[in-house]
Symmetry: C2
Subunit: 334 residues, 2 copies
């Protein structure tokens, strides 16, 4: 192991190479008192409150992109699912499916980044597993993480609480992650300074926990903002009316989308929140978000309405149905 520069199948066979990879790379970066690499299962201190659990897989290509990498993305993605559900994250578990031939230095950069992202939110990786798959049967590295957190006492959120007249907020510009990852692939001959928005949204969601009119939050990832709006429409049967000119989109994202024929409303974010609030608290909520660096460009973008379907009020004053995403040429970016 010490001499190897690239992952071999023997790093997954249960023997010395695997033991040393886990000890010298994974445990060195992720080490904490609860993570015992010799144990089959980790004991967690009693969970005082209502536990919540979420799980996520990460297959982004390239593994390292402007604004993040698959390691930090795995932590942020998992914590964000807890955050929008109103839970404070406590523990993570980590699965790494590593392709034979992966450069060990690159793996180490990614695990170090993952460890840093977890530590920033005082979240511990308490259990892990590694598998090595043969060359040509993987994507260099796939990660799967599970997050365990504790729900804010008394906080009740859910799509079933959404009512007609509620306001729809978004915490920042949409489509940055999807666009940044596409550009990082360099397959379109386009370049730019655009960075992924990948980040932990806990600072945003925590601001809302005590707002009595908070109904529901979600982080738009695969399928973007439009997909979250569709999920709400499908689950509640309520119409959704959003205003194109109110939806924040970076100029660079808009330009790339126009060149390539994409719609930024369907592109992934990894650090944004869509929140549904009662109309009487919407302005206060917006103001709270705008105090944060992450929420400076937050906006009220629409209303739960009596329209049928998800309707976009265009800049030109017309109305356009935002279709549910189907089979499309959108590259895989999360």
């Amino acid at each position: 192991m010490n001499e190897a520069t690239h992952i071999g199948l023997a790093h997954g066979n249960g023997g010395r190479f695997m033991r040393e990879l886990i000890r010298d790379l994974f445990a060195r970066h992720l080490g904490n008192p609860l993570l015992d690499i010799q144990a089959d299962a980790a004991v967690l201190p009693e969970l005082d409150g209502e536990p919540m659990v979420t799980t996520d897989g990460f297959t982004v290509q390239p593994l390292i992109f402007p604004g993040g990498d698959i390691g930090s993305l795995a932590v942020h993605g998992t914590l964000n699912d807890l955050a929008v559900a109103g839970a404070e994250p406590r523990y993570l578990t980590l699965n790494a499916i590593i392709e034979e031939g992966m450069e060990i230095r690159k793996l180490e950069c990614i695990i170090a980044s993952l460890a840093k992202a977890a530590a920033a939110e005082k979240t511990k990786v308490v259990a892990g597993d590694t598998k090595v798959v043969p060359k040509g049967r993987g994507g260099d590295l796939y990660l799967a993480t599970t997050g365990i957190g504790i729900r804010q006492p008394g906080l009740q959120l859910g799509m079933d609480r959404i009512q007609k007249g509620d306001r729809i907020l978004v915490s920042g510009p949409v489509g940055d992650h999807g666009t940044a990852v596409m550009l990082a692939r360099e397959q379109f001959g386009l370049h730019g300074n655009l960075k992924s928005d990948a980040a932990c949204v806990l600072p945003l969601t925590r601001l809302f926990y005590s707002l009595p009119g908070l109904r529901f939050m979600r982080d738009p990832t695969r399928g973007g903002l439009a997909t979250v709006l569709h999920e709400i429409h499908q689950a509640t049967g309520q119409g959704i009316l959003v205003e194109e000119k109110a939806i924040p989109v970076h100029d660079a994202v808009q330009t790339v989308c126009e060149i390539l024929g994409f719609d930024p409303l369907y592109l992934a974010c990894e650090g944004r929140v869509v929140a549904i609030l009662a109309p009487e608290v919407a302005e206060e909520a917006l103001h709270l978000w705008q105090q944060l660096p992450q929420g400076k460009q937050a906006a009220i973008i629409g209303t739960v309405s009596k329209t049928s379907g998800v309707i976009l009020q265009t800049r030109l004053g017309g109305q356009r149905l935002l279709q549910e995403l189907e089979d499309d040429p959108l590259p895989r970016i999360c």
Copy 2:
């Protein structure tokens, strides 16, 4: 989705095809009151006791093999890690990394098998995620599961409790899983009726929870029995002496190993337990196991001793050092 027979990239894009795959396949088989496919995180009822968590990745090829498949294996593997740690499993989370082009019928068989294995132990899948990777970047299907359980009150197990003179028990013949999976690949031109031992070991481990002399348990998987013995040796500094003639090995496994040049002691099991017990309870423990169909061929195979390293007393009366597994031609089988 209804019309598709194979997975396409659109089954992973967040839109309609993905929603229908999750609703019509995953949720239909895994459905339970805690699994809400529209939620970002699942609320767990309060965990009354000391929670334990474990996580595991599954990359076995072929996906379906004599005696099991990747779906049941994922459940058994995860529950077994909780079982040997002395915990009763409660909840599972599931990540599926699906390769573009996978036959949907095959995926459904595997998820149905996973659901059945989970239900058999009254364990609920409470959260899940699916990703689709492009053709040629996966293994048809990789799974990653996390298990949450509650530790038996008062049960203290660990390698640090192992003492000189303790006895080593194994619950059944070793190497069946590794051999059955190798044969299922049909790359050696060998055929046989051998089945994987893949199974849930909870019936075995539960019998020991109340034995006062129980020190430690582990399920030998990758690297087999020899690797578990090495882990104990490395963690405790104690010598391990095992008797070749006491270690149960099926004749068919022995034959295949002789033909192919493998050592069954290094081949994976997926339904066996190695237990370390104080000498005064070893016979009683053996008797308990032998009452179960799963434990009929259980045996006391050796002793924690003053030897240095892991020593095999051979059938011929000699002694052989069991080396730690290094880089070797062992096919990937779990």
